[in-house]
Subunit: 314 residues, 4 copies
Amino acid sequence: MMAMHWSNWDRTDLAVERAAIVRERTGEIPGLESSQEQINGITITRVQVTHAYAASRVGKPPGRYFTLECPELKYRNRTLLKNVAQIIAEELTALAGLPRQNDILVVGLGNWQATPDALGPRVVSQLMVTRHIREYISQDLGGRLYPVAAISPGVLGITGMETADIVRGIVQQIKPELVITVDALAARSPSRLFSTIQIADTGIQPGSGVGNNRPGLNTESLGVPVIAIGVPTVVSGASIAVDVLQDYFSRFNPHARPTIDSVHDFLSQDLLELMVTHKDVDMQIMEISKLLASAINKATQPAITEEEMLDYLQ
Amino acid sequence: MMAMHWSNWDRTDLAVERAAIVRERTGEIPGLESSQEQINGITITRVQVTHAYAASRVGKPPGRYFTLECPELKYRNRTLLKNVAQIIAEELTALAGLPRQNDILVVGLGNWQATPDALGPRVVSQLMVTRHIREYISQDLGGRLYPVAAISPGVLGITGMETADIVRGIVQQIKPELVITVDALAARSPSRLFSTIQIADTGIQPGSGVGNNRPGLNTESLGVPVIAIGVPTVVSGASIAVDVLQDYFSRFNPHARPTIDSVHDFLSQDLLELMVTHKDVDMQIMEISKLLASAINKATQPAITEEEMLDYLQ
Amino acid sequence: MMAMHWSNWDRTDLAVERAAIVRERTGEIPGLESSQEQINGITITRVQVTHAYAASRVGKPPGRYFTLECPELKYRNRTLLKNVAQIIAEELTALAGLPRQNDILVVGLGNWQATPDALGPRVVSQLMVTRHIREYISQDLGGRLYPVAAISPGVLGITGMETADIVRGIVQQIKPELVITVDALAARSPSRLFSTIQIADTGIQPGSGVGNNRPGLNTESLGVPVIAIGVPTVVSGASIAVDVLQDYFSRFNPHARPTIDSVHDFLSQDLLELMVTHKDVDMQIMEISKLLASAINKATQPAITEEEMLDYLQ
Amino acid sequence: MMAMHWSNWDRTDLAVERAAIVRERTGEIPGLESSQEQINGITITRVQVTHAYAASRVGKPPGRYFTLECPELKYRNRTLLKNVAQIIAEELTALAGLPRQNDILVVGLGNWQATPDALGPRVVSQLMVTRHIREYISQDLGGRLYPVAAISPGVLGITGMETADIVRGIVQQIKPELVITVDALAARSPSRLFSTIQIADTGIQPGSGVGNNRPGLNTESLGVPVIAIGVPTVVSGASIAVDVLQDYFSRFNPHARPTIDSVHDFLSQDLLELMVTHKDVDMQIMEISKLLASAINKATQPAITEEEMLDYLQ
């Protein structure tokens, strides 16, 4: 989770949640479009931020944000997991213009030592990394393989270096055509934990709009397109607090419902240091990382069958 | 965390919190005693449950519960960490009658794959395990070593077996004189996360009083004294919710403050599946497991200097 | 690797190698039978030790030893891996009388901190553990699930306890109908590393015949049948030394070929502390553990399809 | 182990062994100097390669190679470990011109999934990484901290990228004043495993002189000084074979001793795929990585006491 800022009750990395919050406050705004479709318990929302004004309001850079929501994802169901992996693979293919003849670099962001933040490294460890083997393997298979490299660089607290600096350095050396990042996200609503997948063609801008200037991972900083895949694994303690108060008053005393600002002022410092996750976080991270790795493998290697693919996976 | 039940807003494994809750509701009750002392920012509370009635009200078996609280523990401060380790070592020594000439078995409970639940396995991995080497090492040192064995058996979801069954089987084979368990706990208040250490001479009774009958780890089931050491690493989502509502009304409208029961009824199912932990959970688990391992090593091996001890630690 | 003794040049856990060594020295002996078949690059040898005399000569307890050899196993080939997993599953089914209505306990022996010895724990981490979930899952699937428990207890150096004691304790508690052990083995010949799989219905007798009396894992000690599965992952340094000398003289000066005893006397102490493994040991362990886990899952859960099985695997 | 080539019987990364081999074959050569001193069971050898001719014969680039040998290092002895850590710290200080006001980058080379190759990543995980915290910590301590960053980038088989490319990219971004690499080495003689430490001011040139052109990690490629620290953790199977034959003939039939070339021709392909390590490889890697991390911490942070240092270590 790059640059998670817990000080705000409405902290979320999901464009779909930010768009909803902004609309709730100020109604429709120009430059912010969205559409939604539902299939078999899966909701797909496409948010597009087309103008700078909308971007500043939503706090996300201009671009396309695909969101898949499926509450059932939290429960092991192989058919559903396969269907969702297929949808994600197709969306990735479209958004990233896959397959690519030249190198793709997949970057697993986050901290492998903290389960809720280990999503990126876990996905990367299950990818089909091929950049170095194309010439060494059988002609038949080799001809159908596309080159993929992958790395999990660790987090600032472990390396002492901004992850964006590490990735930029690697990109300038190997010059991939495309970068795909995978990261654990923060959501506003706990119902989205481990049941929502976001794909954005904007890359990652840590703490966007919150006045920090930590370097991002995007076309501007890396010089190549950056597709960012993420799944919410945590909600801030403050979000839960605001939810509870609002729900309570909505139900029992709508007229006395406090404003967001008054709630926020009253939240204790302790609460702001907390994060909320699912009590089966280890299982959830395992399942969703398997799903994402499968989707990325499919999208980057469309000419390889699933059977062949299993030969390469760890 | 053996048998964590998140369905109750006041779920806590800390006797000190349970005693406070019971007293708040019904005033003093016979068979429940406690005393408190403060030294240099450290609060030590001793709760003693002496009667069955008090035990059933508090939901903890009769016995002695030592609790050390120190909010500063969350911040790395070597002098403080050393002081607290020394206090814990002394309390363990007193409560467990250490050192012991015969075998001690330390059991690291919890799931190493989920950071907030990995406390027990992390502590065990840093212990000075000596039971098998006494006869193989230098006469001088060997004469001063006491026999310690240790295991982290995993959790039901990984082994398919109740941890209590596994431990009972091992105890019946190696027949230790004493069992020490180390476990991640649930607290009621987030301020206690990673800043409270509980030592109880009662062993562990999962979900006591909540109508389950999962096997415990205690004198009754194991046939030897069981000292349980724990540190709260999680709070339930419901606890946070109740806190927020109570704090809000206490401040802005004390007369309208809802009853606990009405609050609980209104909590969503989603909230009950959540757990709350510190956002630096990986760092906190690392520090507190180092502290506990150091304390257990000191208490079990009082004749070995710290210098000598470092030769054996991983 | 329980009780590996490196002091002997002919150290091997493979019955097929021991039988060959004994025959080379003394010719056929009564009570030692073997047969061999070859299919598609796979050699299957069945050794049966039927008399105590043969057992003492071979240094393996009476029983049946199935050995599959396939040099190609070292190279990733999914079709071959699947075929071999199927053969192992069938042999396990026959030797262990699977499926079983009552509990099976799978024990992963060895040290997860040393890659060449991590085979058992790696296999266990990929098993379908079901003993605790039968009643909680869908009627349809639950009716077809057989109960499997699994544990990787660690090694003496980590726990301070004999693994056999730990396992015996657990067996006496959960009373399984059958125990299956998985372990990394030592071979005599480096050509067998990661390309041979042994299944024995004798359980494990550490260092058999070499004058030690460490406790075994077998029917005698556990009270239930024990099927032992193993794959050689190491060869002793002394084995390599003897091979080289013998090969050299066989080729250049057969008449001067030194006796085994004279070779052994001259081996340096340093050599005896060494172990030899494949230079891609991490990859080899990963592949073969996947294969064995798949075979055990198939054999223990014959009513579950591969598709359904994937729902449960980590 | 970058670019380990097992095809040669005399494969070694140790300059001290290469110098000895060259001298044995051709006597003293110009441009190759060495000196030796012994203190308390520790042998320190300094080899200096001053001319290109010597470099091509020795197969190591011109520069200074410090080697510490201490057979007792294999056995846990805290006093000795501390002494050796101190000597290494002093040598590092001298060779690298420490401390440095500007950034130092420590790179842990090798594969954390294969115990014998995990030295670099294990050392890095125990370092005091400070580059990102200088401004956030107490004035007093901050003023005495020097900036250190660290990373373990993984190996080609995992990332699909040459490690040298990754490191060069990072160096160009963060522009450290100095790079220190830590790597598991191959030795020629098994007696050197885990008991020899080499420090070179030449950086790393994978497979030097063996006709490959994989990129190195040195001043030429990175633009800053590179100090390479390494410990032999493996010996090739072919080395063992040659040793055994030579020892055998030296003892029993010196006149018939085969030439190296004839021995090499006769070694089987199988043997060339093997690596030899210590049978307690997990324990050895743990101890020596602790020693190296301690030495690097001391050398890079001379103004911090050991007590203070422990506050920062994991």
